[in-house]
């Protein structure tokens, strides 16, 4: 079962804070349970799947689009882009019933997204306790995830530093390799050039000696 607890202030009583808990199985569109509390009393209600379909049809809105709007208004998934209002009006003897409604604000007009009657709970302490317990469990889970992400973050940073160091070393090693190979090549190549010069010199000397001898014999 999925849950979300949000804080709302009704437009007709903006000074009072209410806590709205929505609970659903897998998909909000399949229906959801509502719990509303002001920290003293608690009211509960249900919105079944058929009511969601009926509301969307009445509004001439595609069902999926309507569910998207419900998520934005009831689960605060919309961010700050759209504006939504809530209202509460008490009914019945000693406010046993509560009419809870929610609407979307456009520029100059608001249109009602939905409403339902909530029944006052006879034992609010238990409902409020469960609500607080759910919040504490959320905190614990988030804190745990936070620690895990933090550790993961540190591991990734450490790995990144290591690989960057390896890359730096590789770049330096590549430059060093090039330098070392050229140095060695030059020495070996120069040995060959020295040998070539030496042979060329020997050949020239022999050829000159033969020429001198030939010239001397002709003169003789």
């Amino acid at each position: 079962m999925e849950k979300k607890v949000v804080r709302i202030c009704p437009v007709s009583d903006p000074g009072t804070t209410y806590f709205l808990q929505i609970a659903w199985e897998k998909d909000l569109g399949a229906g959801f349970d509502v719990v509303l509390s002001d920290g003293r009393s608690a009211w509960t209600g249900k919105v079944p799947e058929e009511d969601i379909s009926k509301e969307a049809a009445d509004m001439e809105m595609e069902r999926e689009k309507y569910i998207g709007e419900l998520k934005k208004v009831l689960l605060f998934e919309g961010g700050l882009a759209d504006k939504y209002n809530f209202d509460i009006s008490k009914g019945g003897v000693d406010g046993e019933c509560l009419n809870f409604s929610y609407e979307k604000n456009l520029k100059d007009v608001s249109f009602r997204l939905g409403s339902l009657m909530l029944q006052k709970v006879s034992g609010p302490a238990e409902v409020i306790s469960e609500l607080i317990s759910y919040c504490l469990d959320c905190i614990k889970g988030l804190y745990s995830k936070n620690e895990h992400l933090q550790k993961e973050n540190e591991r990734l940073q450490s790995d990144l530093d290591d690989v960057q160091e390896q890359l730096q070393k590789c770049v330096e090693a590549k430059e060093e390799l090039e330098m070392e190979l050229y140095k060695r090549f030059i020495l070996v190549l120069n040995e060959k050039k020295a040998k070539i010069r030496s042979l060329q010199k020997s050949l020239k000397e022999v050829e000159e000696a033969v020429l001198k001898t030939t010239q001397a014999r002709h003169e003789k």
Binding site: L181, K183, V188, E191, K195
Partner: protein
């Protein structure tokens, strides 16, 4: 012996590379690997 020394001096340079025999990657790598602490 001096004769052997003379023979190798004619055939190979001071780094051990042959003056006349064609070289290949393996032979040249071996020559280079012996060339440490040189100027």
């Amino acid at each position: 012996s001096p004769e052997t020394k003379q023979h190798f001096a004619c055939e190979y340079d001071c780094y051990g590379d042959s003056y006349t025999g064609d070289t290949d990657i393996a032979k040249l790598k071996e020559v280079f690997s012996r060339m440490n602490n040189f100027q």
